[in-house]
C-alpha cells in the first residue's frame, strides 16, 4: 500500500514532516484541580489532575474510541504498560520533592483514537498539570514518527501506524532539550532510526510552542484577574473566579474554563 504518493503527500494530504492539526483546551473538567482536552488530528484525549496527593496515572481507552468497538478491560497489559510509562514520564517532570508525602492523580481518557494516543496523553497531561498549577521542571511534549515507503513520517495516524512499519514515540523536555520517553517497535537500522528520532524531536518542539501559547493565554488571564495569583492557576482562586469572569475577554476559551 502506498503511504507516500510520488508527489510526496500522505494518505491524509499531509507532507511527511507535517504535524496534524492541534487543538488544546484547558479546564474541561470542572471539578478537577486541572484539566485539559488535547486534540491531534482525529485523536482526542481528555486529562484531569487531582492533587497534590500522590503520583498515580491511569490510562483507559473509552470503549467507543477505536473504530472496532471492543470491550477493553482496564487492567489489560497494554493499559498497564502505558500507565507505567506515562507515570514515569510525568514523575520525571514534576518536582515531587516540593510536595513530599502527597499524591497527584492524573486521569486520562482517550475519547477518539487515530494513532499517537500515547503522545496525546502525555501532552494532555502536561497541560492539565500546568492548569492545576503543579510545579514542573518543564512541559513534557511528545510526538510519534515512523518510517514507511523509505520516508520518515511525522505524527502517524492509525492507518500508518498499523502498516507494520516502525513506530517511534519520543517525549522531551523542550526547553532542556532532553529526551525522557523513547519507545520504538518494529525493526530499523541504526542510521535510519537516528533520522526518525530527530524528526520526532522536532515535532515535539513544534507541539511545545503550541502548548505554550495555550498556557500563556491562561497566565495572562491570571495576571489580569487577580494580582496576587500570578503563577497560580485560576483554579486556586476559584472563589474569585466567577466574579472575575465578567472582566475577562468574553470570546476567549476561558469563559468556558471559568464556568462551573
Amino acid at each position: 500500500m502506498e503511504f507516500v504518493n510520488p508527489e510526496g503527500l500522505r494518505l491524509d494530504g499531509r507532507r511527511p514532516t507535517e504535524l496534524r492539526q492541534i487543538r488544546a483546551e484547558l479546564g474541561a473538567v470542572a471539578k478537577a484541580d486541572g484539566s485539559a482536552v488535547f486534540e491531534m488530528g482525529n485523536t482526542k484525549v481528555i486529562a484531569a489532575v487531582y492533587g497534590p496527593r500522590e503520583v498515580r496515572f491511569e490510562y483507559s481507552m473509552a470503549n467507543f474510541s477505536t473504530g472496532d468497538r471492543m470491550r477493553r478491560p482496564k487492567g489489560d497489559r497494554r493499559s498497564t504498560e502505558i500507565s507505567l510509562v506515562l507515570r514515569q514520564t510525568m514523575e520525571a517532570c514534576i518536582m515531587t520533592h516540593l510536595m513530599p508525602r502527597s499524591q497527584i492523580d492524573i486521569f486520562v481518557q482517550v475519547l477518539q483514537a487515530d494513532g499517537g494516543t500515547r503522545s496525546a496523553c502525555i501532552n494532555a497531561a502536561s497541560l492539565a498539570l500546568a492548569d492545576a498549577g503543579i510545579p514542573m521542571r518543564d512541559l513534557v511534549t511528545s510526538c510519534s514518527a515512523g518510517y514507511l515507503n523509505s520516508t520518515p513520517l511525522l505524527d502517524l495516524n492509525y492507518v500508518e501506524d498499523s502498516a507494520g512499519g516502525a513506530d517511534v514515540t519520543v517525549g522531551i523536555f523542550p526547553k532542556l532539550d532532553k529526551v525522557t520517553l523513547l519507545q520504538m517497535d518494529a525493526k530499523l537500522p541504526l542510521d535510519i532510526f537516528e533520522n526518525v528520532m530527530q524528526l520526532a524531536t522536532e515535532g515535539c518542539k513544534a507541539i511545545a510552542t503550541e502548548l505554550r501559547e495555550v498556557s500563556n493565554l491562561m497566565k495572562e488571564i491570571n495576571i489580569v484577574g487577580e494580582h496576587k495569583a500570578i503563577g497560580i492557576s485560576a483554579r486556586g482562586i476559584k472563589s474569585y473566579a466567577r466574579w472575575f469572569r465578567l472582566q475577562l475577554c468574553p470570546d476567549c476559551c476561558y469563559t468556558q474554563f471559568l464556568s462551573p
Binding site: T80, E81, V85, I172, T180, K187
Partner: protein, 451 residues
Amino acid sequence: MEQRLANSWRLTVNEKKFIETALLPALRIDGRRPFDYRNLTINFGKHDGSGEVQLGQTHVMAFVTAQLTQPYRDRPNEGSLSIFTEFSPMADPSFEPGRPGQAAVELGRVVDRGLRESRAVDTESLCVLSGKSVWAIRIDLHILDNGGNLVDAANVAALAALLTFRRPECSLGGEDGQEVVVHPPEEREPLPLIIHHLPIAVTFAFFGSESSVVIDPTHHEEAVTGGRMTTTLNANGDICAIQKAGGEGILQSVIMQCLRIATVKAGDITEKLKKAVDSYNTERALKKIKRHPSSTLMDVDGAHSNSREKQSPPAFKKATSEFPSHHTRKSNKLENVEGETNSSEQRNTTKNFIGGPSSWDPYSKGVDPDFLKASLALRGASTASKKQEVSKNEKMHGVAKLEETTKDVNEGFLPVEAAQAEQPTRGEKTLKDAVKPKNRRKKNQSSTGAS
C-alpha cells in the same frame, strides 16, 4: 505500588551517595567498568524448549510450549506468540504472588516487542490450516532471583528456550484433508521453530545529571538510577525495540552512543547464545544414538537412545567393526559438526556413531595430526578419488567445498590435509562418506602399487 509494601527493601542514603559518588570516576560497586556485562551462563533443561539464564546474581527461566488454536480473525495465516511473566515471590521481597504487577507486565511487553514486532520468530510457518488451526507458542518467563536487569536475562532465556524448542510435526489427514493430525515425537521427529534473527536486549541505566551511563545495572544500582533504557537489537545492526519509560532526561547524542555500544554487546551475547545452543544440540544428538551392542561405551541416556533410533543402516555397523581407528577420528569431527546441523533433525541418528575401543573418549580433542599426515601420505593427492567422493556426497555446500579443494590438491599436502579436516565438518554426512575413505585408500594403494 511495589515500593510501598512493608517488606520491601530500601536503599539507605549512605549507600545511595556511595554508589553515585563512585560512578563519577567510572567505578561500580561490584568492580565492573561502566560498559561491562556480568557473567552470563546459559543452561538447558531436560525437555526441549526450556532455558535457564544466570546473569550475575539474576536468575531467570523460560519455558516454551505450543498448542494448536484458532488464529486471530485478522491474521488467519499466522500463528501467535504470547509471553507470560511470573515474578516469583522468592526472587525479591517486594514481589507479591498473584497477578503480575506493573514491572512484570512491562518486562513481558518489552521482550514481546523484541520478538514479535521485529518478526524474529516466523509466525507464518506456524500455520497448519489457514483460518482454522495454527500453532500458538507460549513463552513463560519465571524470575527466580532478582539481581537487577531482569529484562536482559529474561530476553536471553526466552531466546535460548525458543532455539531449543521443538514442536510436534503435524499433517493434514482425514476424509477431506481438513483434519489435523499431530504426530507424537516417537513417530516423527519434532521440528524446530524458524527464527530469523536473535534480538538481544541491552539495558542502560542513567545516573545523576552528569549523564553517567552504565550497562547491566545490578539491583543496588537500579534503586539509585534516575532512568533506564532497554534497547533490543540484533547482531545485524538493526534496532528491534527501544524502551525508555520516562525517567531522567538525556541528550540525543547520549542515546545514539548507547545504541552503538549496545550493538557491540549484542554481538557478544549472540555468540555466547549460539555456542550454548550448539553444544546443547550436540549433546542431544549424542543421546539419540543407538549404541552398537558390541561396543562397551557409556550410555548417556539409555532409554532415550533406544526409543529414538530411527534408521540404523546396516552399513553403519559394518563400518564400525571394520575400521574403528579411522572412524574414531571421524566421529570426533562429526561431534563438532553436530552443533552446526541442528536444523536437520532427520539426519541426526545416522551421523554419529561410536565404535572402536571402549577406552575411546567421546570428548577427545580431535584428530591426531601425525596420524592425519600418515594417512595422507598413503592416499596421495589423487584428484580422481576426490571426485568420486564428490559425486557421492549429497549435500550442496559440501560438494562445493570439496570441488574447491580438488583444485588445490596439486599444491601439496597441506591443503589436502585441510580438506581432509574440513570434509567431516561439512553439514549432513551420510555413512557413505564414512565408508568411502577407506575404500579410496585401498584403491590408491593399489594404484600407486600398480604404477
